[in-house]
Amino acid sequence: MSTPTSTSRRRKPLQLGGYLGLILAIAIMILPLVWMFLAGFKERDEIYTVPIQWLPNSYDLSNYAAALAAVPFANFFLNSTITTVIGAGLKMLLGLTTAYAVVFLEFPFKKFVFGLVIFALLVPQQIVMIPNFTLVASLGWINTYQGIIVPGLASAFGTFLFRQHFLTLPISILEAAALDGASHWTRLWRFIVPISAPTIAAVALISIVSEWNEYLWPLLVVDRSDMMTLPVGLTLLQNNDGVTNWGVLMAGTVLVTVPVLIAFFALQKRIIAGLTAGGVTG
């Protein structure tokens, strides 16, 4: 795309202002993260110093060792991975089958069922957390994976996005599937899912990110440190002593954020597609 030449003279000062704005925006977004990374390497006397010292004297990992020794980080990591993979996986499955049913199958109260799914988007989990906590406790699910996963499993947003996508599928695919005489289950997995892969990947990544970062519910249903997920366990480093040991706490924070940052940078095209898919659908 080329800029019309008639406006190019006016653009010079605007261009400069644009770059200044861009640099300012990047600085605001990135400095706190840099501050966290650097603090993870700092000794106490490098942190409690005025004026502040940006760079650590040495890049040793003693804060990381201290964080790993203070709380069971390996367990947190495992628990986060298990609840995220199973939670996001089942959520996708539920979203796909529900959207398929709503678009391709007949049922007398179909509109009502879809409305039921969509209206759930308006119910914040905090509104229903006391009844849900009571139910999970009565089932003996406190400090269990099912206790963390099941109450948030239903797919409302995913169903909505998949339905929107299924409505745009070309008729030829559906005809091919019908001619094939395949069952609905087979049609879903052999025809619909493969051509919907980009949408599914985008929605899956968004589900994975939100499961991984989920905090309030796991905080309520887990009180044993070996069953905690990363966000819940991370706060143990904060609560361990009265005075915050910033070096150790920041090392822990790096351990929680870096896997997500790496995943984000590697898969950002798909993640951004997932975020905007929700957005422009309205």
Binding site: F107, V117, Q238
Partner: protein, 325 residues
């Protein structure tokens, strides 16, 4: 004038070409067996959609009604006995001297995060929409905090805001201003959590606005430029109205997530100091799970949900008339 449907198709087309889309009639013809044995399709429908709907009923709709019932009880979490008090919890909440503060904090937090987020997000989007070198990298950096854990974000910013050894203290010191007592003053603490919330979430708003800006027809702007309109005027008179549906969508989604914010407040202030950062949502958590007053907490939850429903309905009604579809 692009409709919200066009906008959607704009992204969907990147995924699957929307040519040859099945009409509803064709889609119905695709399942011809239903005429003979409708129950078979119904059964399949139940198999496909049933589990999801069942989960929603058990973990969303049933507890919604339960919560309404709990709000009429004087009941401590975990206790086997409860005393029915009718609307007593509601009366207590409306008469509590602390309620005015909680409502004020909620209003300030919500207006600042939703309004501030939209303004800053739009500014970022306009920047990212310009043909500048490095705008791709800038977009990545601006969106990155949105995918991070709210707890981790809260903790790392707590160190940024350290009144003695943090970045803000150093920056303010450079211009000869003493750091405000972010940790100990209720008002400054509220400003602090608002800033952090904006930092984490503004990338999402920017991203959605950017997608909408990119769908603004270029020839429209070129025509305006040839007519002698300044970029600012063209933006106000052409671009902003076209962004209406996007603004509408964002106003609902960011309001919903702002009202639900918990992670950052819990990690940074735990609702303090002097309950200066206790929003209604945080109060629901605190009353229910810290103070154990489950009945009272459910009453606050019911009030908040009622407000949420009314606000969303008003938004939908009001905006439907005003936005160009």
């Amino acid at each position: 004038m692009p409709t919200i449907e066009d906008l959607h198709r704009g992204t969907a087309s990147a995924v699957a070409a929307p040519t040859n889309v099945a009409t509803p009639a064709q889609r119905r013809a695709f399942t011809p067996r239903k005429k003979k044995k409708p129950w078979k399709s119904w059964l399949l429908f139940l198999l496909f959609a049933g589990p999801n709907v069942a989960l929603l009923i058990v973990f969303t709709y049933k507890p919604l009604l339960q919560s309404l019932y709990y709000s009429t009880l004087q009941w401590n979490l975990g206790s086997a006995s409860a005393i029915p008090v009718g609307l007593g919890n509601y009366v207590t909440w409306f008469n509590d001297p602390g309620t005015a503060r909680v409502v004020t904090v909620t209003l300030i937090f919500t207006v600042a995060t939703v309004g501030g987020g939209m303004v800053i997000g739009l500014l970022f989007a306009v920047l990212l929409n310009r043909k500048l070198h490095g705008r791709g990298a800038a977009r990545t950096v601006i969106v990155a905090p949105y995918v991070l854990s709210g707890v981790a974000v809260g903790l790392l910013w707590l160190f940024v805001f350290d009144p003695n050894f943090g970045i803000t203290a150093a920056l303010l010191d450079a211009i000869g201003v003493a750091s405000p007592p972010w940790y100990n003053d209720p008002q400054w603490a509220l400003v602090m959590v608002i800033i952090v919330y904006l930092w984490k979430n503004v990338g999402y708003v920017a991203l959605i606005y950017l997608a909408a800006l990119q769908s603004v027809p270029r020839d429209l702007l070129e025509a305006a430029s040839l007519d002698g309109a300044t970029p600012l005027r063209a933006f106000r008179n052409i671009v902003l109205p076209l962004l209406g549906p996007t603004t509408f969508f964002l106003s609902i989604t960011t309001l919903l997530s702002s009202l639900q914010s918990f992670d950052i407040i819990q990690a940074m202030t735990k609702g303090g100091p002097l309950e200066g950062t206790t929003t209604m949502m945080y109060q629901i958590y605190q009353e229910g799970f810290q103070a154990g007053r489950a009945g009272y907490s459910s009453a606050v939850a019911t009030i908040l949900f009622a407000v949420l429903l009314v606000v969303t309905l008003i938004q939908m009604k009001y905006v439907e008339k005003r936005v160009h579809y």
